[in-house]
């Protein structure tokens, strides 16, 4: 497809891409300012957790300690000075020190968390792509058979159940019950302890809903292509069914699916918040939820900026894919 792009298109596209990238900066700035304002407008202080007693319950810190902490972390400054200071540091890649892990840089915690989120997101992405399109094609090719009804029925069911419900059901059945039934010889761990077999349940949970969606999308798209003239022509020419499916049906049916992949990836990365919290995975989502709970301002800002950047880049990629696959979207 790229071979057929005219030179004017690549020139126009480059300008378009640069403009879109330049727009990322004001988008991120707005995200930072709005997040900063919301954090500071919310009641409470990062030091409300105070001293921990034997039950890990809180007693308030003394006013002297609160003053010292405020000065140490710059919270004694007027809000606009705090914001400017944050922006100035952020430009240099310094997102500050976490209030919750006071000897850790936010960028280091995020750097530790990102692989967890992206590994889960990437595995779920691959699973959605392979299983979702596979089931969709299967259902379309077996149109109005039991296989079709089973796939569409399951896809409808799964697409209508939120992932935290799916996750809890998977934990109960595949972890707890399976462990009990097999007397501990086989079960799936319920996540949280590492990037190994612990990934199975979180990845399943994260991918089931988009998998169902992609399966339905693929089925519809394939059915549409199946009825088109070039498929009928290919079959009339005596081309093998396997070749017809792979070269003439799938290739054309993939167009709407490919354009959906960008938002899907963004969904899998940002949608992992619930799954990470459920399976106790210290990824970006888990860190974000904990940061909000602990009023860890620098971590809230840091994770929000990363999320905003991921979504912005995913949207940019989608728009570029549109430019490539849909001539009506080309600039100029």
């Amino acid at each position: 497809m790229a071979r057929t792009l005219p030179r004017t298109l690549t020139r126009g596209t480059t300008g378009y891409v640069l403009r879109r990238i330049a727009w990322l900066l004001p988008v991120l700035l707005v995200v930072i300012v709005v997040t900063f304002a919301l954090m500071h407008l919310a009641p409470g202080s990062p030091w409300d957790r105070g001293l921990q007693d034997v039950r890990q319950q809180n007693t308030p810190l003394t006013s002297t300690t609160v003053r010292n902490l405020n000065e140490k972390f710059g919270l004694d400054l007027p809000w606009w000075q705090q914001l400017l200071r944050y922006l100035g540091n952020a430009v240099r890649g310094d997102f500050g020190v976490s209030y919750r892990f006071q000897d850790q840089q936010v960028r280091d915690i995020i750097a530790e968390a990102i692989p967890q989120t992206f590994v889960i997101g990437a595995l779920a992405f691959a699973m959605v792509l392979v299983a979702g399109t596979g089931l969709g094609v299967l259902a379309a090719l077996r149109h109005n058979t039991a296989v079709d009804h089973l796939v569409t029925g399951l896809a409808t069911l799964i697409a209508s159940v939120p992932n935290f419900v799916v996750g809890i059901l998977l934990i109960v059945v595949l972890s707890v019950d399976l462990n009990r039934l097999t007397r501990g010889s086989f079960f799936l761990p319920d996540g949280g302890f590492g990037l190994d077999q612990h990934l199975v349940l979180p990845v399943l949970t994260l991918s089931l809903m988009p998998l169902a969606f992609i399966a339905r999308l693929t089925r519809g798209s394939v059915l549409e292509v199946l009825r088109q003239d070039h498929v009928r022509t290919a079959r009339a020419k005596g081309i093998t069914e396997r070749r017809v499916v792979l070269r003439h049906i799938l290739r054309n049916a993939m167009v709407p699916i490919v354009t959906f992949l960008g938002p899907l990836f963004a969904y899998l990365v940002t949608g992992a918040v619930v799954v990470e919290a459920l399976f106790q995975i210290p990824g970006l989502g888990g860190q974000f939820v904990d940061a909000v709970t602990y009023r860890d301002y620098p971590m809230i800002l840091g994770t929000t900026v990363v999320y905003a950047a991921v979504i912005s880049v995913a949207n940019l990629v989608v728009d570029l894919v549109y430019v490539v696959v849909d001539p009506r979207m080309r600039p100029g």
Binding site: Q52, V54, Q57, D108
Partner: protein, 568 residues
Amino acid sequence: MSTCEHPSAKGRASRGRVPIVVTGIAVMLGAAGCGNATSSPATGSARLAAEQVLHINSFFQPPSFDPGRDPGAFGPSALIRQYVEPLLGLTADAKGVRGAAAQSYEVSSDGLTYTFHLRSDGRYNDGQPVKAQDFVYGWRRLLDPRLAAPLADTFSLVRGAGELAALDPKADAAKIGLQLTTLGLAAPDDLTFRVTLAYAAPYFKFIAAIPAGAPIRQDVVEKYGFDRWASKPETLVTNGPFRVAERVTGQSVTLVRNPYFRQQPRLATIVAYQLSGSNVGVAWNKYLNNEIDISNGPPGNSVVQALSDPVLGKQVLQYDEPSESWLTFNTKKAPFDNPKVRLAFTEAIDRRAYVQDFSRNLVEPLSGLIPRGIPGYDRRVGTAESFNPDRAKALLASSGVAPSTLAGIHILTRNFTSKDTQFVQDQIQRNLGVTMTIDAVEDASTQLSRGNFQVYGPDYAYGAAYPDPRLFMDQFLTGSTTTSTGWSDPGYDRLVRQADATTDSARRLFLYQQAEEMLLAQAPVAVFSQTKRLFWIKPWVKGIVSSPFDDADFPGDLFVGDIYIAQH
């Protein structure tokens, strides 16, 4: 001279632990600390497993691995306590102290100067010897306002610390350095650390056992940074039995033996997972799946089921915790500005029924202010104010409060489904004929601090950081911000302040008990119940010597050297 041995000292003596020797005033208080500890159901002799790895869950994640920035005195410090060693440690019965980095200490006759004699074999995990100068540096740093240490106030009884705390880290930056040198901290030689207090404080020995007071090496801090030296395992140079080998923020901490520690623990590795406190179910599943060895149990009512389970029921370890809950009266607002009304409410609640019907036996009834396990606890104290519906009715009738005032009482709670508050509402209705309206609000803490309530709770109120009754008694001193009763009594203040500074332990406890009776007779709070610790421990985890001041997730962590994994 007195010797205080740990209950399992026989087994450990062969490994060379030296019992603490104390003199002077500390003899009397320290000697009282010998007793029996609670042992886990898993104790007994068993063959060691080849892999000595303990997997635990730690809901509490330290905000910093720098001991100076630890926000908890004992309970939450479990992880930090494994890789640092302060001067002293608590005895197993949690009433006295034993030697740790210091093998003995002396107290001057005026109770103001403590001289600690360090062990000559104390070593950091890089092999360097522990010196008294490291304690001087560590304690100065802890009290330095620029560190903003949460526990600085706990150590502020050191001479000169009050003046130092008054300095502003920014405005008075130039004065801080000088003030640090005037603190009552000295190291006459490498193995002697001397602390001079601003006032006599017989409880200071417990403060010397807090991990935040561990030695810190100046060269390490200067090399890696004042706030950054503890951020990586490789720069975290400490003197405890373990060292931090790996830290994955928010996920897990792996501790391995400090090869230079004088007495190697039986466990080779402790892996502490850091599952969020909000998701108890995940930790319980991991316990059932044998991924962790110790659990606080399942969420909600499943506890009852797990307690009666034929297998899980045998893995339970339960003991008292020095913490309690109470019902808070606002003594500044009618009708609770009348002591007779407060007492009537206090005596109208059947705490035993509460424990049996509602608390799933996770608490015990309590009437006095000083809970079981804390010196000064007397089960007779507070009995006069415990359940007595007839007396409660008579008290209310004699209070002179108009029925219209009683008709409009609101009880505040932070829990929208609080069975505890509903229980109190029901008891007051049944035993006093007073109908209360429950106000469940999210910002209960704010309402309490502003005095916008009549009665609040019952709610978890306070847990002692170390075994001294002053922690409970000081809560009710005039000006204390930790309770919201608004209650104040000069006589109570006088008694408590006198007791706080009294070095004679018997006299001290007598004064506290007098003050406690004075407080209970005026009932600014209705003490409700004492919390119990409840753990499930895998049968292969042996040698747990539990203490009320253990970590809430890690029983036996004060004596971690005794824990081992049996063959299974």
